[in-house]
């Protein structure tokens, strides 16, 4: 079954990770709608610049992109009919702050400590991705003009924390991090290589090369793209169903999806201290320990399951250097935990194993489930976003640096929230009780947790315990957004959404 996506109708950020196309800079704006008529007019104006998912040729690539999404209260402010509004799912209606007990946003991640902008009512999310900061700024100026032209219809909200202790910026900037020579890197502030194993679904291009390790695992050990409906409303999903989160009428939902936006502060000082301290008692190099936290080596993203110690990593690096581009990609993504069910190579609590266990939740019991990834295929998300801020002092936690995390999925509750709650902050599916994942877990300072790094079964060696884990990531803001299709945007802007 092949499916051609209506690329001209789907917003580009759903299908493309702009970062992979040299869009190194991004700016995120949040707006409030003060007047329905004028607000819709503003949406109409912005829609003319909204970037679709249409394929880019070398000479047709824009220098900047624009995408737009709405919170539930934003859709109310745009005066969508009640019958349409009632079709949206509970978690979207509640918004991210209302879901803090589900997400584990407690302690320093509590919404009361978020950037000031999140104390306001946010209606619209607008993103600009650019090939340069100039391109971003040019598009930003254009948007400011539209805001002005709206004549009080919409207000650009301020209140983002910035680099120089500002707490009232009108936008959130994000950027790739650069190496010493000023070349862009795929790193984030803890030094990990990010964005390698994103989900792949039916209808995306160049599937053959990308689907390995990123789609769904079949019984015969092959990889197939996930069903489109896992990521786009109005399409059949993995349950042979249309996503149940779609509002009416069909055209409002079709080719749209939901987006999770989270500003995640990285406690770099705590991370570095923690890594140093733990590496003193860890039987292996500091880099191996860091790799076991995440499931990938920091320098090049090598999967720990295929490079489980320093010696095998050296071997892996040699093969990697010798491989061509396609071969390198394959080495990064094409793996399972089938030969590592016990977690001796890649710990069961490693970040990438927790968020995408591949076939390992079958625990080596062949044919226990319909498919090896039966418990996984409905829990996948598309990861978007970029780092923000600069680390000025790597021994300190304060400042303004982290990741703008965005996740796209058809069902926030079933996909993003489930992974965050059940697999990051809890581990019964992994038979590890309440042990939280090291990097993203909402570790409790008063009662810090631990994880187990398993070793070879029957080796007589004790497993390694990583304990006293500090809170390494803190939420600093965010919300849930509906990302409509371009058709739906026009309907919303025109005030002609009719669920009858």
């Amino acid at each position: 079954m092949t499916q051609n996506l209506e690329l001209t109708d789907i917003q580009g950020n759903i299908v493309k990770a702009y970062g992979a196309f040299n869009f190194t800079k991004a700016r995120y704006l949040f707006l409030r709608i003060d007047n329905g008529d004028k607000g819709r007019e503003f949406v109409g104006a912005v829609t003319t610049k909204v970037t679709s998912a249409v394929r880019w040729e070398k000479n047709s690539m824009p220098v900047a992109t624009t995408n737009i999404g709405f919170t539930f209260s934003g859709l109310q402010a745009l005066e969508l009919p009640t019958a349409s509004l009632m079709g949206f799912p509970e978690e979207f209606v509640m918004g991210m702050k209302g879901r803090k007990d589900i997400l584990g946003d407690d302690g320093p991640s509590d919404p009361m400590y978020w950037d000031k902008i999140w104390q306001e009512t946010v209606h619209i999310w607008l993103s600009i991705n650019g090939q340069s900061i100039e391109a971003v700024d040019e598009r930003y100026q254009w948007i400011l003009k539209q805001i002005e032209a709206s004549d009080g219809g919409v207000t650009l909200l301020t209140g983002h924390r910035g680099e120089k202790d500002e707490d009232n910026l009108p936008y959130q900037d994000a950027s790739v991090l650069y190496d010493a020579e000023g070349k862009p890197t795929p790193k984030e502030h803890f030094g990990y290589t990010d964005g390698i194993g994103d989900a792949v679904f039916e209808g995306q291009t160049n599937i053959q090369a990308r689907v390995l390790g990123r789609g769904k695992l079949t019984r015969s050990g092959h990889w197939e793209p996930l069903a489109t409906g896992e990521f786009l409303l109005g399409h059949v999903d993995e349950a042979m169903d249309y996503p149940q989160t779609a509002p009416t009428p069909k055209l409002l939902a079709h080719n749209g999806t939901y987006m999770v936006y989270r500003k995640l502060h990285e406690n770099v000082g705590s991370f570095n201290r923690f890594l140093d301290e733990q590496s003193k008692v860890f039987p292996g190099s500091k880099e191996l320990l860091a790799a076991k936290f995440s499931g990938r080596w920091r320098d090049n993203g090598a999967p720990v399951v295929n490079a489980p110690d320093d010696a095998s990593k050296a071997e892996w690096d040699k093969n990697y250097a010798a491989a061509d581009f396609a071969g390198q990609k394959k080495m990064l993504i094409d793996f399972t935990y089938n030969d590592d069910i016990d977690g001796a190579k890649c710990p069961i609590s490693a970040h990438i194993r927790r968020i995408n266990p591949r076939g390992s939740l079958e625990y080596g019991v062949k044919d226990a489930y319909e498919r090896p990834g039966a418990l996984v295929d409905r829990r996948r998300i598309l990861r978007r976003g970029l780092p923000y801020g600069k680390v000025k002092d790597p021994t300190r936690d304060d400042g303004n640096h982290g990741i703008i995390f965005m996740a796209l999925n058809a069902d926030i509750k079933r996909q993003f929230e489930f992974v965050q709650q059940q697999w990051i902050n809890y581990a019964n599916d992994f038979k590890e009780g309440n042990d939280k994942e090291v990097l993203l877990g909402n570790h409790d300072a008063k009662n810090p947790g631990k994880v187990v790094f398993q070793v070879e079964k029957g080796s007589g060696k004790a497993p390694h315990f990583v304990n006293n884990i500090p809170r390494l990531i803190e939420a600093r803001g965010g919300d849930y957004f509906f990302i409509p299709s371009i058709t739906a945007l026009k309907m919303i802007a025109g005030g002609i959404v009719d669920p009858t």
């Binding site: 008692v281 004790a462 315990f465 304990n467």
Partner: protein
């Protein structure tokens, strides 16, 4: 006979509730309210009943009419006849069933034999109901013929009359006694903390501390330190 899986037993009880009202409330609603008001976790009366793993109470008001679409047969002859006969079409609709009584449902998973267990229910079931002490009779009070229950043996006889066998009892856990399960959970928690705290320590120190540890947790003493039934906080 209740249904067993090893030493684990599944007890399913449907006790008919008297039709009728008292003080403007039906007996069924009074019974339901009493169930809803029960204190939870360690304060639940069931926490005092020896060997209960998991148990529940609710009132079955009626059965449900199957109004949803769905096809339960490989082939429905009526699918064809319905085209030609309106009577056949109507006959093919699911039947409407109504229960003549509402039932108090008590479903328990426990360790051991039914008689011993029900003796525990009769003797130990007790709780504080907003300041008033209640026993098990308070929940079953308005069930049909429960007024003839005067002692433990009556109670066991009564429950057995309300009891239904399970066709399949799936045990996804263990069939050890509750004390054994709770002691194991306690040891798991305590030993985990011990091994984490002793990572990297010298052999002599671990050995010495392990002796102290064993003395403290008393692994084989089920009456020693353990988790309490229904314990909801570490």
């Amino acid at each position: 006979m209740a249904t067993k899986s090893g030493n684990a037993t599944a007890l399913t009880v449907l006790s008919p509730i008297k039709n009728g009202i008292m003080d403007d409330l039906s007996f069924a609603d009074i019974t339901r309210e009493r169930c809803l008001r029960l204190p939870i976790h360690e304060k639940s009366p069931i926490a005092r009943v020896p060997n209960t793993y998991l148990a529940r109470l609710f009132v079955l008001d009626d059965v449900v009419y199957e109004s949803l679409p769905g096809s339960d047969s490989v082939f429905n002859f009526s699918d064809i006849t319905s085209f030609f006969s309106d009577t056949a079409r109507k006959d093919a609709l699911p039947r409407k069933d109504r229960l003549q009584s509402k039932y108090l449902v008590f479903s328990s998973n426990f360790y051991g034999d039914l008689d011993a267990y029900l003796t525990g229910v009769w003797e130990k079931w007790a709780y504080d109901d907003y300041g008033i002490q209640r026993d098990v009779r308070y929940i079953w009070e308005h069930c049909v013929a429960f007024d003839q229950v005067n002692d433990c043996s009556d109670f066991i006889g009564y429950i057995k009359k309300c009891q239904l066998d399970a066709s399949l009892f799936f045990n996804g856990s263990t069939d050890d006694s509750l004390q054994e399960q709770l002691k194991s959970l306690y040891l798991k928690q305590e030993f985990t903390r011990f091994v984490v705290a002793h990572q990297g320590k010298s052999a002599a120190e671990i050995q010495q501390d392990f002796k102290e540890f064993v003395k403290r947790v008393q692994p084989e003493n089920l009456n020693g330190p353990s988790w309490q039934p229904g314990q909801s906080m570490p």
